[in-house]
């Protein structure tokens, strides 16, 4: 008889996320679940709002990926109003977005995963963090933080505000690029390209060494799945394009515009989490799939910019297509970091950037659907807007939701290889490492000091046999 597990919310400080491992009688892991303590009610509060405020409001969902929501929302409004922004409006949005990508990938690659690169996997806990990394390799850390900062600044110059951008609106960008903005962007994008050229080889060397030193990573973290990512003319595009679905054998099985997403993606409520899981429906089957950098590197045929194309070719020749290994998200982020810097400076050379940045847009009732590739994967905003311009319904599909099933599978792979012995520290390190590969979106309020990031609960026959968490 399975026992009910009650976790008292008063005595227990909630973690950002929980991992639940279900064991069989022999003690081996049968199932693993990643459970996000996610924000609730977001879609609901949008109902009744004026549609034109959505790019600003939805950007405030998250302090980590505000620009992704800002732009997915603006694109959904373009769609609802039946307008297309002028070339300058699109280019300014894309340039703002390159800034965001640079910032996000630099943060994820260096601040989150950096200590693994610098220390390897066996370093002492407690020093193996960004502070320890500063001590070990101050020059690399300084460059990495500068990279993040350049991205953030590019984003801000166009987005208009520090944390949450405000300038993308239905029909384009609220004001055309000024001379002073242009001047600043020239400086920032030039420095970004120079810096990424210094950082990329060092980062790649560290990453390849990590893989060489830990063969288990490439051996054990292969989780075959389908992939979904955005392509334009077959090449990577994170701002615009169609969605391409690839199966676990590397066959392209569907390519469809954003507006058709509901035909291909099915959301399922699951009992263990408030977040719905999402599956790909293709040819009558329901398939587990992944989004994010790895998915994008798998589905695209190539990159638009030369240095990124070179890095991409090297990645593909080393790891093949499709590559199923979650740890290689780090490598993929590096390729995209190079791409984002190059693309930003390419946009700066386009004379159309300085043109009028918006067209008039008005809502006559109907649906609006838009998507971008958020740094962590496909992000879809879908609104119902009435003829007075009021939101009547909203649905969002975020990256982590789409990856949850694969995260569960990766955790199971990881746990099966790490549950032996009673070394909690090693086990937590291993599971955290797996989660970090996906850099999931967690409840967005969770910067609160004192919050635990992760709890692990191990059950057998429905009964909790162990709980692992770190003491503060």
């Amino acid at each position: 008889m399975a026992k009910t597990i009650n976790i008292d919310p008063v005595t227990r400080i909630e973690g950002h996320a929980r991992i639940l491992l279900e064991c069989n009688d022999a003690g081996s892991v049968e199932e693993a679940f990643f459970i996000v303590n996610e924000l609730r009610g977001f879609e609901r509060i949008l109902v009744g709002m004026e549609a034109h405020t959505l790019p600003q409001i939805t950007a405030r969902i998250c302090g980590v990926c505000p620009t992704a929501h800002h732009l997915a929302s603006a694109k959904a409004l373009d769609n609802a109003a039946g307008v297309e922004p002028p070339p300058a409006g699109k280019l300014m949005r894309e340039l703002m977005y390159m800034g965001h990508m640079i910032h996000s990938h630099a943060l994820s690659l260096y601040v989150l995963a950096g200590p693994d690169l610098v220390f390897g996997l066996e370093g002492a806990a407690g020093t193996q963090n960004i502070v320890g990394m500063v001590e070990k390799d101050p020059e690399l850390t300084k460059k990495a933080l500068r990279m993040r900062s350049l991205g953030q600044k590019i984003n801000e110059v166009i987005g208009g505000r520090g944390i949450h951008p405000v300038t993308a609106i239905a029909g384009g960008i609220s004001a055309k690029l000024s001379d002073s903005q242009f001047g600043k962007l020239q400086e920032l994008t030039t420095e970004a390209v120079t810096l990424v050229n210094e950082l990329a080889p060092v980062t790649k060397e560290l990453l390849l060494k990590l893989l060489d030193d830990n063969p288990v990573l490439l051996d054990k973290l292969n989780v075959p799945s389908w992939y979904l990512g955005t392509v334009k003319g077959g090449k990577l595009n994170v701002y615009d394009g169609d969605l391409r679905a690839m199966d676990e054998n590397g066959e392209i099985r569907a390519e469809f515009p954003t507006a058709d997403y509901a035909k291909f993606l099915s959301e399922k409520a699951v009992s263990r989490s408030y977040a719905k899981e999402v599956y790909l429906n293709v040819d009558g089957g329901e398939h587990m799939y992944r989004v994010s950098t790895l998915a994008r590197m798998n589905v695209v045929d190539g990159m638009e910019t030369p240095l990124a194309q070179k890095e991409f070719e090297e990645f593909r020749s080393r790891f093949g297509r499709p590559c199923h290994n979650a740890i290689l998200q780090m490598y993929c982020k590096l390729v995209e970091l190079v791409y984002s810097c190059e693309k930003a400076s390419e946009i700066m050379l386009n004379p159309e950037l300085r043109g009028e940045s918006r067209v008039a847009a008005q809502f006559n009732g109907g649906k609006g659907i838009g998507h971008v590739e958020a740094p962590r994967g496909v992000l879809i905003h879908d609104y119902d807007i009435d003829d007075a311009g009021i939101v009547r319904g909203a649905n969002m599909i975020i990256a982590t939701q789409q990856n949850t099933a694969a995260i569960n599978k990766s955790l199971k792979e990881g746990a099966v290889n790490m549950l032996d012995g009673n070394d909690d520290e090693k086990m937590l390190n291993g599971l955290e490492f797996v989660v970090r590969c996906y850099d999931p979106c967690l409840a967005c309020s969770t910067h609160a000091v004192g919050r635990m990031e992760l709890d692990v609960e191990i059950t057998r026959g429905g009964e909790t046999v162990r709980r692992i968490r770190r003491d503060r």
Binding site: R60, V64, V134, D439, H447, E453
Partner: protein, 162 residues
Amino acid sequence: MAKALVVCIGNDLVADDAVGYQIYNRLLKHALPEEVRVLLLGVGGMALIEELKGEQLLVVVDAVQLGSPAGTIHVLDWEQIPGNDLRPVSGHGIGVREALQVCRRLYPERAAEDIYLVGIEGSCFDQVGAPLTKGVEDALPDAVSEILRLLETVSSPDAPAD
């Protein structure tokens, strides 16, 4: 050059996480001395480093979960700010203390001399569109007073008190 920087952290849309935002708005209504700069950040993390310009005093205002009743105001100096020696697993997990440690090591000229965290114990962090819980709402005036008191240490004597 501002002598003090107050950085309020929080998401105004999310229940008790909005406490930093609410305090930010209240602070703006006070006639603060010119040498005090007040900023709002969504999440703390590495962005904090960029904002430091070698001030004498830094006050970080944020919601906390340290296990006290909701509304408890913690005024913690540098030594008392809980570290997060643990590795974060997502971009959401990078803490105030880590950012400041990185700043001290890499950009010592920007790091503040005195650092305080004014942390307001919250209880609800996952409801979008929900207001502050009662205990946190009630704590706002006292939290603002604590911040003003910390700022007095750098204010010139003739600066307006309120």
